[in-house]
Symmetry: D2
Subunit: 101 residues, 4 copies
Amino acid sequence: MALLDITIIPLDGRDSGFSPFVAGLQELLAQSACSYRLHDMGTTVEGSASELFRLAALLHEHAFGPGVQRVYTVMKIDDRRDRTVHLGDKTASVQARSAGA
Amino acid sequence: MALLDITIIPLDGRDSGFSPFVAGLQELLAQSACSYRLHDMGTTVEGSASELFRLAALLHEHAFGPGVQRVYTVMKIDDRRDRTVHLGDKTASVQARSAGA
Amino acid sequence: MALLDITIIPLDGRDSGFSPFVAGLQELLAQSACSYRLHDMGTTVEGSASELFRLAALLHEHAFGPGVQRVYTVMKIDDRRDRTVHLGDKTASVQARSAGA
Amino acid sequence: MALLDITIIPLDGRDSGFSPFVAGLQELLAQSACSYRLHDMGTTVEGSASELFRLAALLHEHAFGPGVQRVYTVMKIDDRRDRTVHLGDKTASVQARSAGA
């Protein structure tokens, strides 16, 4: 099992933020068979490497919506064949801190 | 304000996973003035660009512990000067799904 | 047309460098229909997005050779649909400088 | 010695390409003490980790020119303390292939 971290940036001059765009990607992810988790700088997806590359291609393609002629996608894949890795495993002992805490 | 996403990989042949190593980095982050959040594929930190580059250098350096002669660090910085961005803003409407749900 | 930048890191404890491994990947690239260029920190490949994701999956899979149980792959894709982009276009006016110059 | 690979993307809605912007960064690099090499998807710089993080911060800051309120920077650093690594070492046996060859 592998984890994919993907960030998709539509370079179309929008200056109103990416939120509506990200919502569309989340729908595609929800329709996939993979577990996923949105974080502050991207989305992490759990699956086999072949599933993850196919899904990444789909998400990237989806970003070419109306008026979008250029898309920049950044990905990292951490793929272990020696043991099963799931979303949340690495952060089981997470120590987050909010600005005011 | 900017958000930094950083993943630090010690290339020292350890095959027992990165967890103890990540715990050490979390301590350094806790000592910094920046808010941060560990996720499945890295850590996201909130601060000014200059703070974030300094902190990244510190974390990277720290990874050269006993027996570690090579470190590979991957970073993304999303820096907006037109408005304030905080950790959690992008994921306020997060839709995560667990494998069995 | 799109450009893919890919770096594949086998996390198997080898400390003798990645050169033989990279040579293997170059052979796979040479067999593909895509133009490519090796640089100091990865390989850049030119093709359609769908070709590039398929090729990336192939290269990633190939990295699981004898004794390699974990592979970490980092990718960037710059995909323009408004005009054709080729390898070398961006660096036509390259200004490189060697250490001693 | 370490190698830094850096890609700086001004998210300001420009649709005329990044070339003039990249030229400005190249000037900054030429003024630094570091060797560097522009490639199709970024620039690779050679130096100590501390030099490279300082230079990355400088380049990132420089990208906030007139009208640019958001900058997205992607970096990879491969840092070896067991031996000296220079630009060009990894590609000494480069096998590039052009589209028509």
